[in-house]
């Protein structure tokens, strides 16, 4: 579905992107990572953390506030710019003069401009999509000349209380089927169960993937686990996880955390004067689908992911064997295999992902899948899906640096039903 300024590339055939190589992702900045905000301590709010992340991103590339002319962000890490507090943690405003949650549980570009003192902004957009879409949108804005140096902001938070509780006591329409069993979870398990039946596999075969992601995540300094729970997560841990829906374990679900990240994107020309190596955006594509029935099925899922993967290959001109660094989303670990198989990374075909997991997907091996650890290894920030491919291509991933070639990266998320894919390269061509 095209929205806003019709920037999304979601109508086939997309063709090679006319902005190819014009926009560069060059720097990143992160805040501390906490489990949740206490709702009171301002210096630990999403707004405060977003400012830390923005400043760190600017410092990372050696530019100042006055060098930035665009902010594109997700106000609260939620769809359509919805504040975090509206989604699962409704809370009253602080006493007057507060009349907004801006700077507390969500963070707009306008708020950042006022608080940090940006003077030269000519483009602000709080579109509110997942981070892949935001990177795509910023790349398009730069390619279209809307801005030259953009800060992409992605605050993602967590509040006290139950995560994603639906406050309604009613389930109407299609919600009658899944919502009586809890938010979104039974549907994920249902599709995965269909996958297992179709291909003769089972939930336990997910263990090597999740365990490896947790290992990788411990090597990312911004990971919740690296900062707060640095012990090894074992196969025994995974296999003993409580099932919260059929074929969906508690350890298939990312842990909600509170953190902010910012990225500096600019033109290929301006990147030459910045401190880090430029990583060129070769393509961005997006998609949004509708289930053919009341709930998403494995047939829907495979069709949608096939369309999006093919769209990305058509837009970038790449083939599966060209992808060195692959970062498919894992917010529910049980849907990552759909992406691997759709993109055919490392030759994996439909139904083969669990065999692939059983092989060598270690960080220093031949198939370093999700070298940053994904959400399973870092917490529900999603930003490792941008930071890790960026750092891998810049050769500054430290202990996470893969030993295989790292010249082209593809990062993809968020859900099979609505996704964005970003293709990055060390070369603009």
């Amino acid at each position: 579905m095209a929205r806003e300024v019709n920037w999304e590339r979601n109508h086939d055939p997309v063709g090679i992107w006319n902005g190819r190589g014009k926009a560069v992702l060059i720097g990143r900045g992160h805040s501390p990572t906490d489990r949740r905000w206490d709702g009171e301590t301002l210096e630990k709010s999403l707004g405060a953390y977003m400012m830390i992340a923005v400043q760190n991103a600017l410092d990372d590339v050696g530019i100042g506030l006055d060098d930035v002319d665009g902010i594109i962000g997700s106000a609260g890490g939620q769809g359509n710019g919805a504040p975090l507090s509206d989604v699962w943690g409704p809370r009253p405003y602080f006493d007057a003069p507060y009349d907004s949650e801006d700077g507390l549980t969500h963070v707009t570009g306008q708020w950042l401009r006022q608080q940090m003192g940006f003077k030269n902004l000519r483009y602000i957009n709080n579109h509110g999509d997942p981070v892949w879409n935001l990177i795509g949108q910023a790349a398009q804005a730069i390619a279209d000349g809307r801005a030259e140096t953009v800060v992409v902001t992605y605050p993602n938070g967590n509040l006290p209380g139950r995560y994603h509780q639906d406050p309604s006591n009613e389930a109407r329409g299609p919600a009658v089927w899944p919502n009586t069993w809890g938010w979104g979870l039974s549907g994920q398990g249902f599709t995965f169960n269909q996958y297992c039946q179709k291909y003769g596999t089972n939930h336990d075969r997910m263990a090597p993937f999740v365990v490896q992601e947790r290992k990788n995540g411990l090597l990312w300094e911004h990971s919740y686990y690296a900062q707060h729970e640095p012990g090894e997560f074992t196969e025994e841990d995974y296999l003993n996880g409580r099932m919260i829906a059929r074929d969906l374990s508690i350890f298939d679900c990312d842990r909600p955390v509170l953190a902010a990240a910012a990225y500096v994107m600019t033109t290929a020309a301006k990147a030459q004067d910045m401190k880090q190596k430029p990583v060129y955006i070769l393509d961005h594509t997006e998609s949004q689908f509708t289930p053919r029935s009341l709930v998403q099925t494995i047939d829907d899922t495979e069709e949608w992911t096939d369309i999006q993967a093919q769209r990305s290959y058509n837009g970038s001109g790449l083939k599966p064997e060209d992808i060195d660094v692959f970062a498919p989303y894992d917010g529910f670990a049980v849907f990552t295999q759909y992406y691997i198989e759709a993109f055919g990374w490392r030759g994996v075909k439909r139904g083969e992902a669990h065999d692939f997991y059983a092989g060598d997907i270690s960080l220093k091996g031949p198939n370093p899948l999700n070298s940053g650890g994904g959400n399973m290894g870092t917490g529900r920030m999603r930003t490792v899906f941008i930071t890790d491919p960026l750092e891998q291509l810049q050769g500054r991933a430290g202990d996470r640096q893969i030993t295989t070639k790292a010249e082209v990266a593809v990062t993809h998320g968020v859900l099979p039903i609505t996704a964005g894919t970003v293709v990055m390269s060390t070369s603009p061509d």
């Binding site: 489990r35 949740r36 006290p160 729970e229 012990g231 090894e232 997560f233 074992t234 025994e236 841990d237 995974y238 003993n240 996880g241 409580r242 099932m243 508690i250 350890f251």
Partner: protein
């Protein structure tokens, strides 16, 4: 008599996430009095073991929450109690014929009132 106390962690123990009202000192005292103690939580088993290490206590068991029945089978006792802050705690206790305290009740250490020589398990109350 042997009486088993199963502690949920998050929202129940002070070392949980979020912290609960049952302190390490309360757990230690239960151990010293002679209760069979351990944890039954959604936390990974390896993390539960680390928490017990941090408390400098050796638990009789660590278990996933849905495996409370296994705890009962593997730890013979005259009475069994679980405590926690979620419906899942209550249901796990109910399904396995444990007595149950909500986390805020557990913070009052009701087990210290027990006669360790003559105790009959308190039936679980309706939710």
């Amino acid at each position: 008599m042997a009486i088993l106390l199963s502690f949920d962690i998050d929202g129940t123990l002070e070392l949980g996430d979020p912290p609960g009202g049952v302190t390490t000192e309360m757990v230690r005292k239960a151990h010293e009095v002679g209760f069979i103690i351990g944890s039954c939580s959604d936390k990974p088993l390896s993390v539960q073991r680390k928490i017990w290490e941090d408390m400098e206590l050796t638990p009789a068991f660590v278990s996933a929450k849905h495996q409370l029945g296994k705890v009962k089978r593997e730890n013979p006792a005259d009475a069994y109690y679980h405590m926690g802050d979620r419906d899942t705690d209550y249901l796990a206790a109910k399904d396995n014929d444990f007595g149950f305290w909500w986390a805020h009740e557990a913070a009052e250490q009701p087990w210290l009132e027990f006669d360790m020589n003559n105790h009959e398990q308190i039936p679980i109350s309706p939710m």
